[in-house]
Amino acid sequence: MVWCISTNSNAAILNPIWARNSRHENFRYIIRTIADVAQLVEQRIRNAKVTSSIPVIGTRSGPAVFNCRPFSLLFALTFLLCLIPSAHGQQISLSIDDIGSPSFQIRGVAASLENDRFAVSIEELTLQGQTWKNIHLSCPKIRIEHDTIACDQGVLQGKQNWPVRFSFSPNSKKLSLDLRPAEKERWHIDVHWGKHWKIVADIENGDIAYATPWLPANIPTPNAGNVSGKLRLNGSSAKLLSADAELQLASLAFSDASGLHAGEKISVKMTLRARQERKDMAWQSHVSWDQGEIYWHPLYVSGSGVQLVASGHSSPQLIELERGVLNWPTIGEINASAVWDIASRQFAAATFEGKELNLGPLHATFLLPFLEKTALAKTTAAGKVGFSGRIASGEVQELDLNLSKVSLQDKEGRFALNNVHFTLPWRARSASMADLDIGGGRVLALPIGSFKSTIHLQDKNISIPRLAIPILGGSLNIENFRASQAATGWRWEFEGGLTPISMEQLSSALHLPKMHGTLAGVVPRVHYESGKLALDGALLVKAFDGTAVLQDLVLLDVLGHAPRMQASLDMRNLDLDLLTRAFSFGNMQGRIDVTVKGLELSNWKPVTFDAAVRSSPGNYPRKISQRAVQNISALGGAGAAAAIQRSFLGFFEEFGYSRIGLSCVLRNSVCMMDGVEPAPNGYVIVKGGGIPAITVIGYNRSVSWDELIARLQRVTQGNAKPIVQ
């Protein structure tokens, strides 16, 4: 027979019948419990069917079947309960095609009770977007005591079989669930419901993977780890009133699909205490990261004793961090407060502050990964740093940075700065000035002295009106330095000059042959953009009592492994005496001009140029020593010869000359050489003049560049053994 009921208004009338049938209370109790659950969910129920092998009073003999659409399950079950005279040896089953609500969906529910054996199966359960299929709960011996249905040896079957104990008291509105998915794993959950509800979870070595479905989809997924501790939630209706948690995460591992955000072997202890205060939830939290490692591209950090203490308020619109203290043992303490706007996903307001932080580990862990393509990519730092800042509407409004007693060293020895003090008060949309004070340091092998400067900042533009860096008794002056951030990266420009520095100190610092005199120069506008550094004008340097002009300078890939430089060089009136003394060449007196056109250096080695050395025009003493003659001859290689007036060789250390000239056109590692004028089978390098005079002739026109360099090195080392005619 089929009953179809669309109202539950008769429930009150049926209750007296229920009260009268007390003998088979257990069976009725089960039914009523299911009815209570149905009332709890009191949502959309489709195609519910209750069958009973019990003959229903007042009808024909035979089992009762209720199959209704739409259906009030509560009423049907209550009705069935009232009609059952005896449950002994009987069976009742319930099937529901679909139960749905805004928060969950259950499909294919089948529950049965036969004597003491209870079983329920769900084909598909969808909760907050997560779906579980084919869930079976069976209990071989269900225990019913007054208000409680309990099972001590149940089994929850999913992908694995989990031993389960539960105790369900619908009148008292209590559910106690105890799951033991693994040997040392235990999830004990107590639920009290009603107007005020409470959930208490006690977890021992709970597999963190069970939490995965509940996490937001856009964060890295835990793939290993376990959780232990206690979680307590209190609420009223749909409102959470308080939450307390004391949890320990151990051996936690997580990763996103790209592997760029991942952690391994993480141990974390955390406590949370949250209370409803008016419309907000007030909370305090303490997190202690004891061990493990995290790679959050491009940062890699390993935790050992990192502590975070935070407290604040949360509402559906805002998360307010009133006070946050991050303590990183190797770095120091950072304090912060913030208001996070949930709708706009940005900080409506925030402040942060760190005092006396250790720059060394801060630099190595948090700064270097962002300096990959800069000159600071291979640096170590030490000293103290402090900072504070303010964010409003998602943008940094103020940033104060303070470096104290900082040293910075390039691991490849290109530069070092010592005792750096820096104070930066940066303000958005207004100009600010930073003070820089450097105690000293070095660039390559050149020591630099202490200097101070003021740096002007406006948004992302930096300018330094004047900077004087003491170097070797002189000063490198940088003027009108301006840097700004473009789409292609930082670009900067400056101009300046070099006040006379000691050549002796310079040559000593660079481990070059000892030079005399001073070096000074004017630096035209230098600008850098997209890895290209160029000079707008000519770089004028005074050296060896003459002038050198470097122009058309372009530098590419300066910090890479294949730096390329293009330039032209024009040197006038260099004093040969100073020059030859510097390079142990053998003394020469006179003046020379050097022109190098189309100079191209690759990895700082010349690959192309048209170079010529010529005697400068004008009247000046022209003398060449015997040793210099021998060395010049040696440059010509094995075939070179010096035509020397032999009769005078033994008597004179110096000879006269009228002109000197040597040129080299470098192409494909070969130097095509020429002199001041042609000679039979060669070219004249030194043309004799005066008494005693000397003429040096070169015969090799084509010399390998490497061989020429080797010869120069031999000559300057004083090992030359020329062939003298």
Partner: protein
């Protein structure tokens, strides 16, 4: 008009003939101080990268560079170094192609040099390494 069309066709055919010939003339083994320096640095770095190639964490791209293919294939503590190595390798590879084109006296050949090298890297890759095929899909050699 007809002669103009004819001239255009002739120029097009000439361009087709000239392009591969021009590239064929490029000396990929040419040496300059920069190329030597780059080769040395890349050779040293290869020792560090080889493990990442073998594990599939890093693969060879079809445009002659390298890319992080599967970061999860590298131990966590090495992922930062791996990304740095890949960035440095790509910087040097780009410089190498530029230098070779430059050393050949034809800076405009850089793209062709890169393309030729891309094929060469892939053909010389060890078995088990990953590379991008012509359509950009990762393929195990």
């Amino acid at each position: 008009m007809k002669s103009l069309t004819r001239l255009s066709s002739w120029l097009f055919l000439f361009a087709l003939w000239w392009s591969p010939l021009a590239l064929a003339a490029a000396d990929l083994e040419i040496n300059t101080p920069a190329i030597t320096s780059l080769k040395n640095v890349m050779q040293q770095r290869h020792g560090d990268l080889a493990g990442f190639y073998a594990s599939g964490a890093v693969g060879l791209t079809r445009d002659g560079l390298v890319a992080v293919r599967d970061p999860a294939a590298a131990p966590l503590a090495q992922r930062q170094a791996m990304n740095s190595l890949v960035a440095a390798e790509n910087q040097d590879r780009k410089a190498l192609y530029r230098e070779i084109a430059h050393a050949n006296g034809h800076p405009e050949w850089e793209d062709e040099v890169r393309s030729t090298f891309a094929q060469r890297w892939i053909s010389k890759a060890a078995s088990g390494w990953w590379y991008q095929n012509a359509s950009g899909a990762w393929t195990k050699k």
